[in-house]
Every structure is written in C-alpha cells, then in structure tokens.
C-alpha cells in the first residue's frame, strides 16, 4: 500500500483538499500535490502500461524524466494525451485516464506480448514484418499502430488560448535551484539584466529535500530570502512553471510557461511560449538520477531513490511500509533516512560497492538500518506490485542469498547531469570517470558570434553533486563569485564518487538480463542492446533507432546513459568512445498550441480585405484566396449553384454591365529621371516612349527569361509611371524593383512606392459602362476624350478618381481608382447609379472566363515559372530594338530559343465539352518509365456561357503550325477528349466591343 502520511509534506496544504478522477474513480489530494503524488496517496501505484509488451507500470520518478506515469488529462475540448503525472499540478476536478491499455488498466490483453517477449527482440519490426512487402502497409502497420500508440488524440478543437511573448536580457539562468539562484544573484549584482526560469512552481530545486541547512540557515528560510531579494530587483525577472526547453544560435532560447495548466478555464492563456534573446546563458538544470538495471526493475513500486524521498518529504506520501534501497552511491542513503524519519521501515540498503564509509552510510547505520555492501538485487518479486526482493552478491551471477519482503524498492544508479541545454547548440560533453557520467566540457562550449562561450553550466548540471561544491564556486565572497560567471562552467571538486554499476549483478545470465529494463516506455531491455551489438550495431545512433532505446516521450532521460554503457561493454570499448546520441530541443515535450501561439481561428493567418470586403460578405459572396486576399469568386443568388452564378455574371457583363472589385491589383509608383530607363529594363517592351496619359501592357521576366508578371503601365507625368501588377505579385514585384535599384543600379535616379492599398479600384465593364460613368458625372469619358488605353484624372459622382480605359474582358471597360477610404462608398454609388443599367457585381471566375474567351493570358495559368513570353506568342510585347532587358539573355539560351517548344494555341472540343483542368495532350508511344508520351497540356479551360461550349487554351508542341489538327487530352477516367487546334481568341476577334 502506498498512502498519505499523517504528518509532514512541505509542499502540500492539508486544509485545501481537492477531489479528482482517475479512470472514473474519485480520489482526494491536496493543493501542492502533483497528480503522481496524489495517485500514490490513494494507493494507485499502477498508472499505465508499457508500449510494446503492455506491462503494468507505476511511477518511477518525480519530475520531467518520468517515462511511465503518462495520462490522458482532461476530456473533450481539454483532452491532452501523454501528460506526465509527475509534472501535472493537481487541481480540483482534475480528470485523468491511464493510457496504453485494453480493455482496462488492471486487466490488459496486450500483456500476452509479455509472454511472447522472447519472440519480440530488438529490431523485431524490421525482422518480422518485412515480407511479403505489401503486408507492411496494409496489415502489419495498422495492427502495430493500434496496439502501440500512446495517449488518445483529441477529437475536438482545443478550448484553450495560447500566446507567445518576446523577452531580452543579458544573462538567462535556466533552473531555479540553489545554483541557479546564486548565479542569478551574481549576475544581478554585476548590474546585468537577468531572467531566471524554473520549470516547477517553486524555487530551490532538490536542496530543500536533500539538505537540512545552507550555511547554518534552514534551507526554506535561505531560499525565501534569496527569492525575495531577487524579486525586489528591477533587473531580475523570475518565471516559475517555465521550462527553458531549447537553446539556439546567437543566444536565442525558447521557453514554455505553463500559465494556466493548473487553473483550467480561468480565461488566461494555457501556455505562453517565450522567445528570449540573451547575451549569455547559465544553465543550472540539475541532474537526473539513474535507475539500476536489475531483473524486474520495472515492476510498480520500484522507483528512483530521489523520487521516493521527494514524495515522502514534499507530499507526505509513503510508497509502502517497507522500502528496500539499492544503490551504488551515498545519495540513496538520504532516502533511507527520510523514510526512517517518517516512521517507515527500511529493511535493508543493498549497496553494490564493497565498502560504504561516508557520512550518510554511517548515519544510516547509526539509525539502525541494515546496510549490506557488495550486494545487489537478483530480482524483484511481484507482478502489478512489488512484494519483495531477492538479494545476491553484486560480483556474482544472481544466486539468491536471501529474500526480503517489501512494498517498494528505491534505487539509485548514480546521477546524470542535465547537459541538454549546453549541448543543443554545439556544446561538447566529456566523460567523468569519477562520477561515471557525462559532464559539460567547459573547454568546448557553444559559442556566440564573437567566439565567446554562449552557455556556462553551474551546479549539479556541471557535475557538482554536493551542496558544498556548488556553494564554494558560487557563494558571494567579497562581492564576487569564485568563478567568473557567466563565462565559466563550474567544475566537480571530486568529493562525490560514483562507481559504474551498469548491470546488477554484474554476471547476470540472460534470464535476468532479459528482465532488466533500460527504457521503460519502449520496453528496451539490457538483452536487447546486447543483441543489437552482437548483430553488428556499433554506432550509438544506429543502436538507438534499431532498439528504440531513448525514443520515447522522455527521450531517454533515464535510459540513455545506462543503454550506452551496456552497448560500450558489449563492444568492449570505453564509454566516451561510444559517445552519446545527439541532444536536440525540446528538452521536454511542448504542446503544439504553445508553438502555434495566437495563430488560430480568425488570426491564424493575415487575411487581407479590400475596402469593399464587408459589402461582399453582406452580399453573400463566395470567396477564394488570392495570395492572402479573399476575393469574391462569384455572388450566388438564392437557389443558384456557383457555376450558374458565374454564367449569369458573364452574360450580364457581356450584355449589360458588370462591376468588379479590382482593388487587389498591384499599384506601384515609379518616379525619377531614370524611371523610363528602369522600366525598359524591367519590362520586355519599351515603356520610356509611352506618352503622358497613355497606358501600355507589359511583361516582366526574371533573369532566366521566364515570365514573372504582367500588367498595364500608365504614364502619369514626365518622370512618373504607375505600374499595375497581378494581385498576388504586388509585394514581390515591388521587392524585385527595390532589389535591382538598391543592389545593382544604385546610381540610377529612381524611387518606387507601393500604393496598392491606397486605392480602391473598380472595373466598370460592359456595353453600359460609359452610361454608368456619365450618370455619375464629373468628367468626360467619351470615346474621343478618353480612348482605349488612356487614363485621366477627374471626379466621378463627386469622388476623386483616376480612370483607366483598359479592358481584360473584351468589353467597353473602365478601371476607376478612388482613395481606399472612399472605396466602399464609391462601390455603392456605382451600384445605385447602375441599377437601371443592369449593373451586377461579378467575381474572379467570371473575370477568368471572360479573359479566356478573349485569349488573354493569366499569370499562374498560362505561366508556371517554366514559360517564356515567346511560348505564349507574345513576341509583339518584346522589343527587338532594346539592347537589353531582364530575361533577354536567358531567352537566348538554346533550350528556350528552340523551335520545338510547346506554344500557346486554342482548342475546340469536338463534343463541345470543357477539357478537364490539368489535362495533358497525349502523343504516340511511351517513355522510358512506361508512361504515355505527351506533347502539350491545357492551361485554361472553361465552359463559355457566351459561346455555350467548352473553350480552352493550352501549350502544344509546334502548336501554331498545327491549326485545324485534332489532338487528344487525357482524363482521370483514362479516356481522352478530342479537340481541334485553333487560335486563342474565341470571342470578338476584331475587338469591336471594347472599342466603342
């Protein structure tokens, strides 16, 4: 039985009882409990099942290293899988369920794997499921995925909010134990701007549990004093419940603050992701205790010695009446003493070392605890719960000397300094023989831009496992610390020595080794790593992936060092030679919500709106994304399909009057004495000769010669041009212009300004277009005064307007730009004045259909980054006289100049249908891959409501020379559509409609 003790518990508040649910059972805990502590207090030792064999598992640790006690936390819109019970703060009404079991935690059918374990060795998946090949995808993988899996994926949207925040400092201290507090104080004393992060809710680290006093002051008093000192300073910020989880180049650190995990639904953001830029980083991340590898070390009730005393001291939780200690170092004796002090029994301390003469072993002996040196655990007895241990000599092969009845086992295989953050950005670690652990190599830290150390390490993270060691380096002596923070790492003083004990007993036979768990969550045993080594795995990185050692949600915090020590032993190589796997961020799992931050729902992505957007929404527009804009695709009326709406909009525009919101069109002012010269380089045609007040269509290519953008250029005055770009191209083309002006032609006198959003632009299109403008009144828009391809400034209906007589539909058409702040009003005025003229709004699809009927190309349809203007028969827009333009040289390359390129033509389907989007034009025979040869493809294809049949443009090899020929387009169904090659202008070939 694990239970709550009657007294003690430094972190719990016994006056604040909290009810919570575990697998539907109501349990009670106290404020200050973790979920793991509260479960233990309710005798719920069994907390989950392992990944592969579904073995029963209890909590093993008391912090972020926990591999076993993972739960589904919450439910519905607040369900979070894989939450560690050891780091989950208890709150009233908490609901948790255990994971990885079926049908129940107590009885699991998957545990049958347990008995088949010897048939599921390392690399089992690779060996077993390789043949027959198709079975992997359709049989093995789905079955394995169902059997494995961890928590349940939530099915509802997350009810919580998340956010991010930026912070800046001179020194960032990660870890709020004694070493971190002292480092923060030292940096603050030196006038540095300091941020201190602590992943738990309280400061002090392990010291309040492990030590009685600091320099004669009770630990809690000492910590309270330094905390209030630091909090009182303007240059120090302390953030608890905040885990610094990743170190990146140039002092960039990410940290996850669990703002409201423990107060769900209170309206605050659940997590806040901190993006911190700091000059220096001090990590004081402590050390994690290692398990010992003895048979049955995964049976619920076997825990880390440090975790046992955490539960006893912090939460007044007893793991059982009788706890046997197994250790290879002195620190576990603290657990024995803590248990004793709580009135519990420690039947024996099994110390693998031949002698144990330190202060702590002596204190244990003095307390009457039986200390057996040179002894180890042959095996743990029990199934879902520890019932006892069999004792053996460490030096032997596991012959049982005696059996001891107990309810719990506290083990310590030494300590692994948390070197993760030091290593994330390139810091190297070195093996310390005295500690049997990797510690930071202070001579090879990650470095800043200037070569100075970016991360220094203090405290247990640096291998300083005694308080005296930490204090000696960091204590304030005459206003300075003994080591030069934040540039220098602390170093172990040699006072703590931990001999290597990787297997217990050292000569254990296979029967025992195959019950010694290294990685609890992934069920990797000592025997698995040894098998991998026998099968030829030498690299620790390969062994990790082959055996899945250290690949669980805890990322091997408990298993990595033990596993690679076993590997090194099997390879008969020293541990440092075998090396470690790579430490990568995040240190602990980070919820996706925190990474996404505010980017959800309405503000997932910027949505660009024109001044008329609200009108479109009210009018029931169906929107499509164009870049980050949402543009009306069509304006369906009641009972209309989108297709019907588009057809109506096209016909109405062709017969009466259509209004288009063209505000998204890019508008860039180009001004200066060299503006004409500049545009002559940017466009394939000549712009410098454009008379003032006239418009000219132009093409822009990139340096390779490929068509990049198009639009109409208007000359506003001698030095000023207004360049229209595509809707999606405005920002890109503006940046392109600035790139050339700033980096290449920096001595040309040209300035540009992107005024896209300054104007609302409305296309007034159709036979009644001029009548509408005359109704609005204010300027002469007659054929004589404002002929095709000219622009004029004036007022229309009282609105200041610039009117361009240009057409993308083949109709009589004006594009009118008014200030954006009056755009909505002008749009409404047009509709009002146009009501009697048959005015209707039309969307982008009608625009597309009408331009295709006229054979006008569209960037992104006729072009895809591999098409040059010549492919589209746009030679007329390319100047032959100019010495150069961007793309000219590229277009002269043999492949682009080849007469065999696919070129633009139109198509009439023989049956009048519309060719499917994306269809290819098939050719005879097949290519080397057995695929049908092709000779072209469709680029634009629509049903034309004007012509009442399908129309299409496409690229066809030698296209213009093949007029009248019938070609075949493929379809997804495998059939083909026959179409006759024709020119690209389907409607009003002579342009009579637009020139009225």
């Amino acid at each position: 039985m694990s239970t709550r003790l009657a007294k003690g518990g430094r972190l719990i508040d016994r006056t604040a009882a909290m009810d919570f649910h575990f697998n539907g059972k109501v349990m009670r805990g106290f404020a200050g409990d973790t979920l793991a502590a509260a479960l233990l207090a309710n005798d719920q030792m069994l907390m989950g099942r392992s990944f592969k064999y579904h073995r029963p598992r209890g909590v093993v640790g008391s912090g972020p290293e926990e591999p076993n006690a993972l739960v589904n936390l919450g439910r519905g819109a607040r369900l979070e899988p894989n939450q560690r019970a050891t780091t989950t703060e208890l709150f009233d009404g908490l609901e948790a369920t255990s994971q990885n079991h079926w049908p129940s935690l107590e009885f699991d059918v998957g545990v049958v794997n347990n008995y088949a374990a010897r048939f599921m060795p390392a690399g089992f998946y690779y060996k077993t499921f390789i043949h027959p090949r198709p079975f992997w995808k359709h049989v093995f993988e789905p079955v394995i995925r169902r059997a494995a899996g961890l928590g349940k994926a939530p099915t509802e949207g997350d009810a919580d909010r998340y956010e991010q925040a930026y912070a800046f400092c001179d020194v960032l201290v990660v870890g709020g134990g004694v070493a971190g507090l002292l480092a923060a104080k030292a940096a603050a004393d030196a006038g540095q701007r300091v941020i201190l992060l602590e992943q738990t809710a309280t400061l002090g680290g392990r010291t309040p549990v492990d030590e009685a006093d600091i320099d004669g002051t009770p630990v809690d008093t000492w910590i309270a004093a330094i905390e209030s000192d630091l909090r009182a300073r303007d240059n120090v910020t302390i953030r608890t419940r905040t885990c610094g989880f990743g170190v990146y180049d140039h002092g960039y650190v990410l940290a996850d603050e669990r703002v409201a995990d423990h107060t769900p639904g209170d309206g605050r953001p659940k997590h806040r992701l901190w993006r911190i830029r700091t000059a220096k980083i001090v990590t004081a991340t402590g050390a994690i205790e290692r398990p010992l590898s003895f048979a049955g070390n995964d049976i619920p009730g076997v825990m880390l010695a440090s975790a046992v005393r955490d539960y006893v001291v912090n939460h007044a939780v007893s793991p059982g009446d009788r706890t046997v200690i197994a250790t290879n170092n002195d620190s576990a004796y603290q657990t024995a003493l803590a248990l004793k002090a709580a009135g519990l029994e420690v039947p024996a301390i099994l110390d693998a070392r031949d002698t144990a003469t330190g202060a702590l072993p002596e204190a244990a002996r003095a307390a009457g605890i039986r200390v057996l040196t040179g002894r180890g655990i042959a095996k743990v007895k029990g199934g879902k719960r520890v019932t006892g241990v069999a004792v053996c000599t460490q030096a032997g092969e596991g012959a049982v000397l005696e059996e001891i009845t107990c309810e719990a086992v506290a083990m310590s295989g030494g300590w692994s300094p948390v070197v993760h953050l030091f290593s994330h950005c390139g810091g190297k670690v070195k093996w310390d023989d005295n500690l049997s652990a990797f510690i930071p190599d202070a001579s090879r830290p990650p470095v800043n831009h200037d070569g100075s150390p970016m991360v220094s390490v203090v405290g247990a993270a640096a291998g300083c496992l005694s308080l005296a060691n930490i204090l000696a380096g960091l204590r304030d002596v005459s206003g300075k610390t003994a080591i030069r923070l934040p540039d220098v790492c602390q170093t172990p003083d040699g006072s703590v020595s931990i001999p290597p004990v990787w297997v217990m007993p050292q000569g254990a036979p296979i029967q025992l080794r195959s019950k010694m768990w290294l990685d609890y969550q992934n069920d990797v045993k000592v025997s698995d790593v040894q098998l991998a080594s026998r099968e030829g795995y030498q690299s620790v990185e390969h062994t990790k992936r082959y055996t899945t050692l250290g690949m669980a949600t805890d990322q091997g915090k408990l298993s990595n060092i033990n596993g690679l020590a076993v590997l090194a032993d099997s390879l008969n190589e020293p541990i440092p030679q075998v090396g470690t796997t790579t430490f990568r961020p995040p240190y602990t799992p980070v919820t996706i919500g925190a990474l996404a931050g505010e980017s959800r729902g309405e503000i997932f992505q910027p949505l660009r709106r024109t001044p008329m957007h609200e009108w479109h929404e009210k009018s029931g527009a169906y929107f499509e994304p164009v870049g980050l804009w949402h543009r009306p695709y069509c304006f369906p009326r009641a009972g209309e399909t989108h297709e019907q709406a588009v057809h109506r909009e096209v016909l109405n525009t062709r017969e009466k009057l259509g209004l288009l919101d063209a505000s998204t069109l890019g508008k860039i002012i180009v001004k200066g004495p060299d503006a004409g010269r500049f545009l002559d380089m940017l466009y394939t045609g000549v712009m410098s000769t454009l008379p003032i007040g006239k418009c000219r269509y132009g093409l822009m290519c990139n340096e390779q010669g490929f068509l990049s953008d198009d639009g109409v250029v208007a000359r506003l005055d001698e030095e000023t041009f207004l360049c229209h770009t595509t809707s999606g191209g405005a920002d890109r083309i503006h940046a392109w212009m600035e790139d050339w002006l700033q980096c290449e032609w920096w001595d040309w006198k040209v300035y540009t300004a992107n005024v896209t959003e300054q104007y609302a632009q409305i296309a007034v299109v159709g036979p009644n277009a001029r009548k509408l403008l005359e109704t609005l009144g204010g300027m002469d828009v007659s054929k004589e005064t404002l002929p095709f391809m000219q622009s004029a400034d004036g007022t229309l209906g009282g609105f200041p307007a610039r009117v361009y007589r240009i057409s993308f539909s083949g109709e009589l058409s004006y594009e009118i730009a008014v200030p954006a702040s009056q755009g909505a009003a002008f749009w409404e005025a047009c509709h009002k004045a146009g009501a009697s003229l048959g005015a209707m709004p039309y969307g982008t699809e009608a625009l597309h259909v009408m331009r295709a009927e006229k054979g006008f190309i569209m960037i992104g349809d006729e072009t895809d980054g591999t098409v040059i203007p010549q492919d589209l028969n746009l030679d007329w827009a390319i100047s032959k006289k100019k010495a150069d333009y961007l793309g000219k040289r590229g277009q002269a390359r043999t492949f682009l100049a080849s007469p065999d390129r696919w070129k633009l033509v139109g198509f009439d389907t023989l049956d009048g249908s519309a060719i499917p989007d994306g269809a290819y034009i098939v050719a005879d025979g097949t290519n080397g891959n057995g695929q049908r040869n092709v000779q072209g493809r469709v680029t634009s294809t629509y049903h034309s409501p004007t012509l009442k049949r399908g129309i299409a443009m496409g690229l066809l090899k030698h296209g213009p020379q093949r007029m009248g020929e019938v070609v075949e387009f493929n379809t997804i169904q495998g059939e083909t559509v026959k179409a006759r090659v024709r020119d690209t202008v389907f409607f009003d070939k002579d342009g009579e409609k637009q020139n009225v």
């Binding site: 909010r161 956010e163 991010q164 925040a165 930026y166 912070a167 800046f168 701007r193 703002v259 209170d266 309206g267 605050r268 953001p269 806040r272 993006r275 830029r277 931050g597 505010e598 980017s599 309405e602 503000i603 992505q605 910027p606 949505l607 660009r608 709106r609 024109t610 001044p611 980050l628 804009w629 002012i669 001004k671 200066g672 004495p673 006198k749 300035y751 540009t752 300004a753 005024v755 896209t756 959003e757 300054q758 104007y759 007022t795 009282g798 609105f799 200041p800 200030p819 954006a820 702040s821 009056q822 909505a824 009003a825 002008f826």
Partner: protein, 181 residues
C-alpha cells in the same frame, strides 16, 4: 466626395490595455537622399526637423519619422495632405525625390494603459525596455509588417490597411484580461 472611412471605422477594445483604431490620418511617403532642401521640405510639410536614424520628430499633430536611409514618413491631419504635397514639391522641385499620399494605405492603432507594452511584447520582437525616447521602430506584429512609436502615454501602431482586421485581432488576443506578462 464622401467622408473618408478608416479601415475598421474606429473599432476599439478594452482589455488590460485599451486598443483603439484611429484615423484616418494623413500620411505621406517621402523618398529622398542627399538632397539640399530636404530639411526645408519636411519643415514646410509638417514643421519638424529631419529625424535622426530610427527616430520620429513630433510637433503637435504632425510628425516625421525616419523609415530608411532614403525614406521618411510624414504624419499630419488627413485634410492637410494636398497642401503638404504641394509644399514638398515646391521645396524639392529641382531635386530627385518621390512624395506620395499613402494615408489610405494604412491603418493606425493606439494601445494605451499602464501595461500597454505587454500587449506589444507578445507580438513584436522588440526590446521595449531599451526603447529610446522618440524612437520609431519598423518591425512586425506577428505575421505582418508594422511600425510604432511611443507618445502621449501609449503606443501608436501603423499597419497596412488591408490587414487592419488581423492586427485588431492580434491586439485583442494579446490584451485579454488576466494575460498580463
């Protein structure tokens, strides 16, 4: 001519800081470099001196901000833009420059309150504790470009007009009561 309408029609939100969309505000982009009469042009248009690098000069309801080595942002009452453009044209008539009305291309917000900077700290990679008096910062608000400066006990933030709704959404999200940093 109808009355000019700002992007969000003066929307506001009261969280732990107050958010207000203001405007329309007159704005001119002036591009010029190394021209003799730049100081005269700016003086004539908005009555300030030429701002230093990353600074804004404020004179009553007018201001001039440094945007880049060859770009200035002139701020003035909406109705005064035409006159200011004329004044710039007169002062720089012989010199290479570009001055253009961008009043309607922008949205302007005020973020006010004791913890106003907490709202912006969540959105902008800016070290607010090191912000200089009179500093104008061109930065980003989450995913879109933004510029801001500190004045009159709060922050004035400028974004492009088309993303005004997005920026308002960001500011509201960041100013939720209880989420102070």
């Amino acid at each position: 001519m109808s009355d000019p309408v700002s992007a969000l029609g003066g929307a506001s939100y009261a969280g732990f800081a107050t958010i207000r969309e203001i405007g329309p505000l007159g704005m001119i982009t002036l591009r010029a470099k190394g021209v003799k009469s730049l100081d005269k042009a700016i003086k004539a248009a908005v009555g300030t001196k030429v701002p230093a690098v990353r600074r804004i000069e404020i004179a009553g309801d007018k201001a001039c901000g440094w945007m880049s080595p060859d770009e200035y942002l002139l701020i003035l009452p909406y109705g005064g833009v035409a006159d200011a453009l004329a004044a710039i044209a007169a002062a720089l008539k012989a010199e290479h420059h570009l001055a253009v009305d961008v009043s309607d291309a922008r949205a302007v917000f005020r973020v006010e309150g004791a913890k106003a900077s907490d709202v912006l700290r969540k959105l902008m990679p800016v070290d607010f504790d090191r912000l200089e008096p009179g500093e104008l910062r061109r930065t980003r608000a989450a995913q879109v470009p933004a510029a801001f400066w500190q004045a009159d006990g709060g922050f004035t933030l400028v974004s492009f007009r088309s993303v005004a709704g997005y920026v308002m959404g960001l500011l509201q999200h960041s100013a939720q009561p209880g989420s102070e940093l």
